[in-house]
């Protein structure tokens, strides 16, 4: 009876969390061979919800990091990895948005927030792999992992650090050097990023001439 109860508790916790987990969304993407590169075009507008869209106008910077991974069809090891960073900040005195994109040398100024959203969420001919890494006839797929305002590991470690600080130690110190560090109960969690979007393309291949 006790065993059944324990299993039920674990399953219940697991099922709650799985429903809350980040999911990978299949999306049809457009691939083109351009020069030595394979480039992709798609949209990532689902990254923004109402709050994230409103935050574009706060005057604080918003950052989007787009990570792309090209996988062979039957492998979990990517053969090509790329990263692009896009940023925007609202100039509250000029009342314009300053947008910095990965393929432009200088930031551009944009008047309307909707235009900013379009610039940030359109992936247009972004290189994802070199053609020499993609043998003809073999099947691949692309996974795109997009992070809004990602938090670097050092900052996360600093924020979470207070968790591992107790209220000082008692008389006995030796015990703390052995065993589990897990002794903290209630705590808030800082997410790795404000929002995460994971997309996966349809399978693709380079046709033999």
């Amino acid at each position: 009876m006790k065993r059944r109860l324990a299993v039920a508790v674990v399953l219940a916790l697991t099922s709650i969390a799985v429903a809350d987990d980040d999911t990978i969304e299949p999306v049809h993407m457009q691939f083109v061979e351009r020069g030595d590169d394979l480039v992709v075009s798609t949209k990532i507008q689902k990254l923004f919800d109402e709050a994230a869209y409103a935050a574009l106008g706060t005057g604080f910077e918003s950052t989007i990091v787009i990570n792309t991974f090209v996988y062979p069809q039957d492998s979990s090891e990517p053969i090509a990895v790329n990263k692009a960073v896009r940023k925007v900040v609202y100039d509250i005195w000029d009342e314009t948005y300053v947008v910095s994109l990965e393929n432009s040398s200088k930031p551009v100024r944009v008047k309307f927030q909707s235009e900013v959203l379009k610039l940030l969420t359109t992936i247009d001919n972004m290189p994802v792999a070199q053609l020499r890494d993609l043998p003809l006839g073999e099947i691949f797929y692309l996974r795109v992992n997009v992070l809004l305002n990602p938090v670097d590991k050092k900052t996360l470690a600093e924020v979470q650090r207070w968790l591992s600080q107790g209220t000082g130690g008692g008389l006995d110190r030796g015990g703390v050097f052995f065993g589990s560090f897990v002794s903290v109960f209630v705590h808030p969690k800082i997410a790795d990023a404000d929002r995460v979007l994971q997309l996966q393309s349809q399978p693709f291949y380079r046709p033999k001439p």
Binding site: V10, L13, V85, K154, E158
Partner: protein, 481 residues
């Protein structure tokens, strides 16, 4: 010439740091997260709202920006502001906004915080063994006393007397107070008071049985405290130094002995002065923690080391020194969905240390019941897996563990359902505990004399808003054995 060398060195350092930040095989992105752009702004004022319990000054001290600063709108300090406030640990959420100041280019920063409960349950003690038919206790804390940023905490545990001759009701209480950042500086202070009313079991017959008849207990009382200072050498490293003063009263049996299976009787050293004695020590420790997630870590490492010295020169009845160290490293696998971790910890006690400062067997063997606020709650012998020395000591002055663990993510959530994640893990390790004297003198083969053995552990760790739950073999055995 020296100038050229200096320039070359600077170039090499720049190249090395750029290389370190760049994933192998990737083309250099034209834009980095740390690049600054956008308009230059001058901070005219910083307005803080939403804090009802926490004093505004506590928040203001944590900010990396101040009125009068001139910076780019994308400056890292502005981005870090939210996390610096969150790092205080007193808020569930922090939102930032900016509005126009009194003249062009000047801005007012608005920081709105949502406070959270800062009362925490650190530990629950309960279980049943031969030594105590039941024990019960809890350790709780408040991390933001009266909104001053001061942590206060403490615990109480009660253990009913068991069948061991001479045992009595045991109880212990502890009160702790700490300010991790005095006036917003890198310096902190801590202090604690502990009172223990216990009975300490020791073996009088046999070598490895758990039979209460093979044990006897003597009553003791400990009262004392620690106080010290901390210094944050970096954001992830802390150095601590402190003093400890403790009074021990023990009613020790006269000439305690242990009857061996062969019938031979040998005397036992209980490592305490009879009657009243005093322990005075000075300690120094360092702690560096780079784990992004201390609950379900898949990367980073943690190093801890501490030395403590007690001497007649500072008023102690015990001349001794202890040195403890611990190192943990997690290597991420499969994009941090799983990890291999290596854990090594050890300690050495030199000199005439009181019993309570020596290494207890459950400190090193996770499959035994750990002490609760110093109270010994079990007399169970460790599992004999290797067939090494049968009469492994309850206490030693040289001990340690080495563990290799594999953990894998079962799920990760965003916390919307109050569940952040879960991992399953499996680990194996070796532990050892010995008296240095016994290592030198032995009357059996090397293998049969080795005070080491193996242990294994497996289970599930679930990280939720309500707490971190461990469903593990060691956790279960540590409560009922």
């Amino acid at each position: 010439m020296r100038g050229l060398v200096a320039v070359l060195c600077v170039q090499l350092v720049c190249m090395a740091s750029a290389f370190a930040d760049e994933p192998a095989g990737e083309p250099s992105p034209p834009l980095h997260e740390d690049d600054e752009f956008g308009p230059l702004i001058a901070i005219e004022a910083i307005e803080i709202s939403g804090n009802t319990a926490t004093q505004t000054e506590i928040i203001r001290r944590a900010l990396p920006i101040a009125p009068g600063d001139i910076l780019h709108a994308s400056d890292r300090r502005l981005r870090d502001t939210r996390f610096k406030v969150l790092a205080l640990g007193y808020f569930r959420d922090v939102t930032l906004a900016m509005r126009k100041g009194s003249s062009r280019g000047r801005v007012v920063i608005e920081i709105h915080v949502v406070e959270r409960g800062t009362f925490v349950l650190n530990r629950l003690w309960f279980g049943t063994t031969n030594v105590s038919p039941y024990w019960l206790g809890a350790d709780v804390g408040e991390r933001n006393l009266l909104g001053l940023g001061i942590s206060i905490g403490g615990g109480m545990v009660y253990a009913a007397p068991g069948d061991v001759e001479g045992s009595r009701s045991q109880w212990a209480g502890e009160l702790r107070l700490a300010d991790p950042s005095l006036y917003g500086s890198r310096w902190g202070a801590y202090g604690s008071l502990t009172l223990v009313h216990g009975s300490q079991p020791f073996r009088i017959a046999g070598t490895s049985s758990d039979d209460p008849g093979d044990f006897q207990a003597y009553p003791y009382r400990r009262f004392g405290g620690r106080a010290g200072m901390t210094y944050d050498a970096t954001v992830l490293s802390r150095i601590s130094a402190g003093l400890r003063l403790e009074e021990i009263s023990a009613e020790l049996p006269v000439a305690p002995t242990q009857t061996l299976p062969s019938g031979q009787i040998e005397s036992i050293d209980l490592h305490l002065d009879p009657g009243s004695s005093r322990v005075v020590t000075a300690d120094l420790s360092i702690d560096r923690d780079t784990r992004a997630d201390p609950i379900l870590p898949h990367s980073g490492n943690r190093i801890m080391a501490a030395a403590e010295i007690g001497s007649a020169a500072i008023g102690s009845d015990y001349d001794f020194a202890t040195l403890f160290a611990r190192f943990d490293q997690w290597w991420p696998l499969r994009n941090e969905r799983s990890s291999i971790s290596f854990h090594i910890s050890g300690g050495v006690v030199v000199g005439d240390a009181p019993q309570f400062d020596r290494i207890y067997i459950a400190d090193v063997d996770p499959l035994l019941t750990p002490r609760a606020l110093g109270l010994v709650l079990s007399n169970a012998s460790p599992l004999d897996i290797l067939g090494t020395r049968a009469d492994k000591p309850m206490y030693g002055d040289l001990g340690g563990t080495v563990t290799l663990e594999y953990s894998q993510q079962i799920f990760r959530g965003s916390g919307k359902n109050r569940v952040y994640g879960g991992d399953w893990f499996v680990g194996v390790g070796a532990w050892g505990l010995a008296d240095a004297d016994e290592l030198k003198l032995r009357d059996a083969s090397v293998w049969n004399s080795l005070p080491i053995d193996l242990y294994g552990d497996a289970g599930v760790r679930v990280d939720t808003d309500l707490g971190i739950f461990e469903f593990t073999i060691s956790n279960a055995l540590g409560r009922f054995r």
